[in-house]
C-alpha cells in the first residue's frame, strides 16, 4: 500500500486488511474445511475429528459407482476437450485472419454457449436429441460438453493470436519457409501455450458441468459431479468428502498447469521481442 500518514488513513488500511482477510477466509474456508473430514474415521461429518482413516478414499477408489463416474468424467472430459480445442483453435485462426460478412453474427454464435443459461442448453439437448437416440449416450454428452467448452478455447487462443507478432511469419516466409513450415515451426510453438490453456479451460468446463448430465445422461454415463449431486441430495456421506478432496486436488493441478503455461507464454513473447 501507499505510505500512510494520518491515523484515519492507517485505520482505513487496517479495516481494508481485516475485511479482505475475512473474505479470503470465506472464499477458502469451506474448501479447506472439507479436506480433513475426508480422513476422519467417523461416519459423522462434524468437527472435532475422532481419528485418522483412509477408508473413505478406499471406498471412493474401489466402489463401482465412483470408479465408473471417474472413468466417465475422464472419457467425456478428454473427448470433449480434444474436439473443442480442435474446432476452437481452427475457428480462432479464421476469426483472426480476415473480416468476412457476418463476422459479428458468427462471434455471437461462438460465444453463445457461455451466455445461454445452461439449463436451456440442457432442455434443448434433451428435447432435440431424444428422438435421435443421442440422449443417454456418450456421444450426446460429448457433443454438449464440446459446445459448452468451445468458447473458452476461442477466447484463450484468440487472445494469444492477438499477441502474435505477424512479422514472425513474414520473417519465416522471407527466409524461404512454406506456409505449412511457417505454421508448424514458427506459429504453433508460439501459440501452443494459449492452446494448452484453452484446452485446460475446456476440460475444467466439462469437469464442472452437471446440469446437462442431469438431463441427458443415462445411468451408464453418470459423471463425478453427477454422483456428487445425488450424494448431496440424498444422504451426504464421508465418501463425498473424499470425492470432493480429489476434485480439489484436480483444481489445484489445473491452476498450477495454467500458471506454468502463462509463464511460458510470457517467456515466448518477451523472447520474441527481445
Amino acid at each position: 500500500m501507499t505510505t500512510t500518514r494520518t491515523w484515519p488513513e492507517r485505520l482505513w488500511t487496517w479495516v481494508l486488511y481485516l475485511s479482505c482477510g475475512l473474505v479470503f477466509v470465506f472464499l477458502l474456508g469451506p474448501i479447506l474445511a472439507i479436506v480433513p473430514l475426508s480422513v476422519n474415521d467417523s461416519n459423522f461429518l462434524t468437527y472435532p475429528l475422532t481419528g485418522f482413516s483412509t477408508r473413505w478414499y478406499g471406498e471412493f477408489f474401489t466402489s463401482e459407482k465412483w470408479t465408473r463416474a471417474l472413468m466417465n468424467t475422464a472419457i467425456i472430459g478428454i473427448a470433449s476437450t480434444i474436439l473443442a480445442t480442435t474446432l476452437g483453435t481452427l475457428a480462432s485462426f479464421g476469426l483472426a485472419k480476415a473480416r468476412f460478412p457476418g463476422r459479428g453474427l458468427i462471434m455471437a454464435l461462438v460465444m453463445s454457449p457461455m451466455i445461454v443459461p445452461v439449463v436451456i442448453v440442457g432442455v434443448g439437448f434433451y428435447l432435440f436429441f431424444a428422438p435421435l437416440g443421442l440422449t443417454q449416450s456418450y456421444l450426446g454428452l460429448i457433443m454438449a460438453h464440446t459446445a459448452l467448452a468451445a468458447p473458452f478455447v476461442v477466447v484463450t487462443v484468440s487472445a494469444t493470436l492477438a499477441g502474435l507478432d505477424p512479422s514472425l511469419a513474414r520473417a519465416a516466409a522471407s527466409l524461404g519457409a512454406g506456409p505449412l513450415t511457417t505454421f508448424f515451426r514458427v506459429t504453433l510453438p508460439v501459440i501452443a501455450p494459449g492452446m494448452a490453456s484453452g484446452a485446460l479451460f475446456a476440460f475444467a468446463a466439462s469437469l464442472d458441468e452437471v446440469v446437462v448430465v442431469l438431463m441427458v445422461a443415462g445411468p451408464e454415463q453418470r459423471t463425478l459431479p453427477r454422483e456428487m449431486f445425488s450424494g448431496i441430495r440424498e444422504n451426504i456421506s464421508p465418501t463425498i468428502t473424499a470425492a470432493a478432496t480429489v476434485m480439489i486436488v484436480a483444481a489445484v493441478a489445473l491452476l498450477i498447469a495454467l500458471e506454468l503455461l502463462r509463464r511460458r507464454a510470457e517467456r515466448m513473447r518477451t523472447g520474441a521481442e527481445g
Partner: protein, 422 residues
C-alpha cells in the same frame, strides 16, 4: 474504389492505366476473397457444430413454447368444426358437440385420448378427468350430442371449458408464454391475469430476480475491497493473494456446494463456531433455506465479481488521485470523486456478469435451498423431465433466455464502452 477508376478521363494513356489498374484491382479482390473464404473455411467446422449442438436444440425448444399440436392431432374433427362457432358469447352449435363426441370415441379407441386430456388439464382444472370420464360414459349413438355430453358431465355446459378447448385447438398458441407471466385468455379471448390461487410464475420470476439481485449485491460488497487490495498491492504479493481467489474459482461447483452443506448443517462447523463465540445459544437453521442459498451462491460467484473489477482497477493510474490530493482533496473525496468513477466500467461488468450468471442458477438452490427458494431454472428442468409439460418448460425457458440476452446486450455495450474509456 471502382467509381474512381471509371471516372478517369478517357485519354489513351489513362485508358491503358485503367485497364491495368482494373486487372490489379480484380486480382486484389480475388486474393481478398480467397483469404475470406480460407478464413471462413476455418471457422465453418465450429459454426456447423454449434448450429447442430446449440442453435437447432434451442430453436426447437423455443418452438415448443408456441407449438400446440395435441388437441388438433387427437381431436381433429372438433378442431375443424370450431369454424361453425361464430358467437363466442354462447355455447358452440350442435355440430361442434357432435364432432367432439365422434373425436372422443375414435381417440379413446386409438388410445390417444390421454394426450389431449393432459393438454386440456393445463388450461382447465380437472380437464383431464373431464375428457377421460365423459368419453367413458358416452353411448355409441345419441339423438342429441349436446344433451348427451352435458348429461355425461355438466361442465360441457360451461362456456369456460369450451373457450379453453377452443384456444387449445392449435397449431400455435400463446397459452404457455402467457402462463409464464401469469396471464391467460378468458372465454372471449381477452387477456386477463391468472387468478391468484393459480398464479405462481410471477412469484418464481420475482424470486429469481430477488435472489440474483441479493447475491450480486453481496458479491459487490465482498468483492470490491478484495479487488481494491489486489490491484494496489505490489505485484508479487497480489499474485500470491490472487491464488486465493483463483483456487475457489477453479474448484468444482459441486465440491463447493457439498462443502457448504457440511459446514452449514445443524451441528456443522459454522453453528459450532457461532455457539462457541456466544453469537447464538442454539443451532441456527442455515441450510435448506434462503440463507444457505445466499451464502453458497455468493461464494460461487464472488470470483466473477472480483476479477473484472480488479482488471479495471489495475489499469487506473495513481496519478489522478495524487493530483486530487495535491489540489487539497481529502483522501475520502479523492477516492469517491476521482478513483471510484474510474472503477465504474469494472463494477458494471462484474455486476452484470454475476447477475446474468445468477439468473440461470439451478444446482446450488436445488441442493441448498428449500421449496420456496427454487429459481426459474428449477421449474424449467422440472417441467422437462418430471411432468413432461414441454410447452411450459419452453415458455419459461424463453422468458429466462430473453432476460439473459437483454442483460448480455447491455453488458456488451457497457464493457465495450469501458474498454474504450480505459
Amino acid at each position: 474504389m471502382g467509381s474512381e477508376v471509371t471516372a478517369t478521363p478517357q485519354t489513351t494513356a489513362s485508358r491503358g492505366d485503367t485497364v491495368a489498374s482494373r486487372a490489379l484491382l480484380r486480382q486484389l479482390r480475388r486474393a481478398e476473397r480467397r483469404r475470406q473464404w480460407g478464413a471462413f473455411a476455418l471457422v465453418a467446422p465450429l459454426v456447423l457444430f454449434l448450429i447442430v449442438a446449440m442453435v437447432l436444440p434451442i430453436g426447437d425448444m423455443l418452438r415448443r413454447a408456441v407449438d400446440d399440436p395435441e388437441i388438433a392431432d387427437v381431436l381433429p374433427q372438433v378442431t375443424r368444426a370450431f369454424d361453425d362457432w361464430t358467437d363466442h358469447g354462447q355455447l358452440p352449435p350442435d355440430s361442434v358437440f357432435a364432432a367432439l363426441a365422434a373425436d372422443m370415441a375414435s381417440a379413446r379407441a386409438a388410445g390417444t385420448l390421454p394426450i389431449a386430456a393432459r393438454r386440456l388439464n393445463y388450461a382447465v382444472d380437472g380437464g383431464r378427468s373431464l375428457l377421460v370420464n365423459s368419453a367413458r360414459r358416452l353411448p355409441e349413438t345419441a339423438p342429441n350430442w349436446r344433451d348427451t355430453l352435458i348429461a355425461a358431465d355438466p361442465r360441457w355446459g360451461e362456456l369456460d371449458v369450451w373457450a379453453a378447448l377452443y384456444q387449445a385447438r392449435g397449431p400455435l398458441t400463446d397459452f404457455f408464454l402467457l402462463a409464464a407471466i401469469d396471464m391467460q385468455r378468458d372465454a372471449q379471448g381477452d387477456l386477463t391475469a391468472t387468478p391468484a390461487d393459480r398464479a405462481i410464475y410471477r412469484d418464481v420470476l420475482a424470486r429469481t430476480f430477488e435472489i440474483a439481485g441479493a447475491v450480486t449485491l453481496l458479491c459487490l460488497l465482498l468483492g470490491f475491497p478484495v479487488a481494491y487490495l489486489l490491484a494496489n498491492l505490489p505485484p508479487r504479493r497480489s499474485n500470491l493473494l490472487m491464488i486465493l481467489v483463483l483456487l475457489p474459482f477453479w474448484t468444482s461447483l459441486l465440491v463447493r456446494t457439498a462443502a457448504w452443506v457440511v459446514l452449514l448443517q445443524e451441528n456443522g462447523l459454522v453453528n459450532q463456531v457461532m455457539m462457541m463465540l456466544g453469537v447464538t445459544e442454539a443451532p441456527v437453521r442455515l441450510v435448506y433455506n434462503r440463507i444457505g442459498v445466499y451464502i453458497a451462491m455468493t461464494h460461487v460467484l464472488l470470483p466473477f465479481m472480483i476479477l473484472p473489477i480488479y482488471s479495471v482497477m489495475r489499469g487506473i493510474s495513481p496519478v489522478y488521485r495524487k493530483a486530487a490530493l495535491s489540489l487539497g482533496a481529502t483522501p475520502t473525496t479523492a477516492f469517491l470523486r476521482v478513483y471510484l468513477p474510474q472503477t465504474l466500467p469494472g463494477l458494471a461488468a462484474g455486476v452484470l456478469l454475476v447477475f446474468i450468471m445468477a439468473l440461470g442458477y439451478y444446482i446450488t438452490p436445488a441442493l441448498i435451498g428449500g421449496a420456496g427458494d427454487q429459481m426459474v431454472s428449477y421449474f424449467i428442468a422440472f417441467y422437462t423431465t418430471d411432468t413432461v409439460n414441454w410447452g411450459m418448460a419452453a415458455a419459461l425457458g424463453a422468458v429466462l433466455l430473453s432476460a439473459t440476452l437483454l442483460l448480455y446486450w447491455v453488458y456488451n455495450r457497457l464493457v465495450g464502452g469501458g474498454v474504450r474509456l480505459g
